[in-house]
């Protein structure tokens, strides 16, 4: 499994704006680079990132080859209720990965 790191507070006060930082291992091969043999290496990128809070989409992004390798995406969300945040990355060659973290809102 590909490694992903989510940095998100475990607890928050209701209504608090929390910052979430995500990192995932991915080459983000642009499709514009020649390999050692001189042939262009086929594109292999993550195309979409989605964050859901208790199943509801709260943030998403379309990614293009200009996103740096091992993509880092940081954004904010309002802590509404205790529950699960899920993070999904979808990409070329059937890539898909989902990570979840629990948050306790008081």
């Amino acid at each position: 499994m590909v490694r992903a790191l989510i940095n998100c507070p475990k607890t928050a006060k209701k209504g608090e704006v929390i910052e979430i930082k995500t990192l995932i291992s991915h080459v983000m091969e642009t499709g514009y680079r020649p390999g050692a043999d001189g042939k262009v290496v086929p594109r292999d990128i993550l195309r979409r990132f989605t964050c859901r809070y208790a199943g509801q989409e709260v943030f998403s992004a379309d990614l293009f080859p200009a996103v740096a390798a091992n993509p880092f995406i940081s954004f904010t969300t309002v802590a509404t209720a205790s529950g699960t945040l899920s993070f999904t990355w979808d990409g070329d060659n059937g890539f898909t990965q989902t990570e979840t973290v629990a948050i306790t809102v008081t």
Binding site: R3, L5, N7, K21, L23, V27, A68, A69
Partner: protein, 256 residues
């Protein structure tokens, strides 16, 4: 800082040796980076090297095969048992009767105690383990062993550091002792202290070992790079670590 005894043959050739950098003028490559790259290293939540560290941490307690022991079965919790270990490498290996670096030590463990094939140079699992073990020395001083058996190898490493090589005919010392702080193209020349390896290098868009960086420099002066695992590379690592003795371990560092 350890004083080096240079081989008589080298001195006899009259090769002009660059002056060592005085201990109080030594600076980590970190100091030469932009504030944005420094920030990437300072904050673990921004540092992509932590992806490799997380892989290494998972491997530490996973048995590599059904009958094999994990690293943790012998060494326990790395947070305690590996503290300060990476800061001492390269170190002398009894069985091989020569210095080995941290990656070689990991592979010796795999072959001898886990009965597993060695991990390939620069492979994700090897860099991950090295980064995870290295992290346990973060903040500690670089502490090369005071082991007399290392001295001949360390001297050979020092000689190689001062040997001009490649079509450009540059030695390591000409850039990193004599011209640190100046620029080569747009990039500042650092002092070549290996305080943060394995590093996440933006140029590589990934993680790499000190040997990768050394081979990179050799390519830079248009010399044929020594193969991964070559004794000469380990000797150079050994010398560089003694040259950086007392500086702070930064693993896993970020470099441009």
């Amino acid at each position: 800082m350890i004083r080096l005894v240079l081989p008589a043959a080298l001195l006899a050739t009259g090769f002009a040796l660059a002056a060592d950098i005085p201990a109080n003028e030594r600076r980590s490559g970190f100091d030469f980076m932009s504030s944005s790259t420094q920030q990437m290293q300072r904050d673990d939540t921004l540092n992509p090297a932590m992806l490799w560290v997380a892989e290494g941490e998972a491997q530490w307690s996973e048995a590599p095969a059904a009958a094999a022991k994990s690293c943790a079965s012998c060494h326990g919790d790395a947070v305690g048992s590996m503290r300060g270990v990476a800061a001492r490498y390269p170190a002398f290996d009894e069985r091989r009767q020569k210095p080995v670096d941290l990656q070689q030590r990991i592979n010796l463990c795999r072959e001898t105690h886990q009965q597993q094939p060695a991990l390939a140079a620069e492979s994700r699992p090897l860099l991950g383990l090295a980064a995870y073990i290295g992290l346990q020395s973060r903040g500690l001083p670089v502490s090369p062993p005071q082991d007399a058996r290392l001295q001949p190898a360390r001297s050979r490493g020092a000689a190689l550091f001062n040997t001009a090589m490649g079509q450009l005919n540059f030695s390591c010392a000409q850039c990193h002792n004599d011209n640190w702080g100046h620029r080569l193209a747009g990039s500042p020349i650092p002092q070549a202290h290996p305080t943060g390896y394995p590093i996440y290098r933006l140029e590589w868009q990934g993680m790499g070992s000190l040997q990768r960086r050394l081979r990179n420099c050799m390519t830079g002066v248009r010399a044929e790079p020594l193969p991964y695992g070559a004794d000469e590379l380990v000797e150079l690592e050994l010398y560089l670590n003694s040259r950086a003795a007392g500086m702070t371990v930064e693993t896993p560092a970020v470099r441009p």
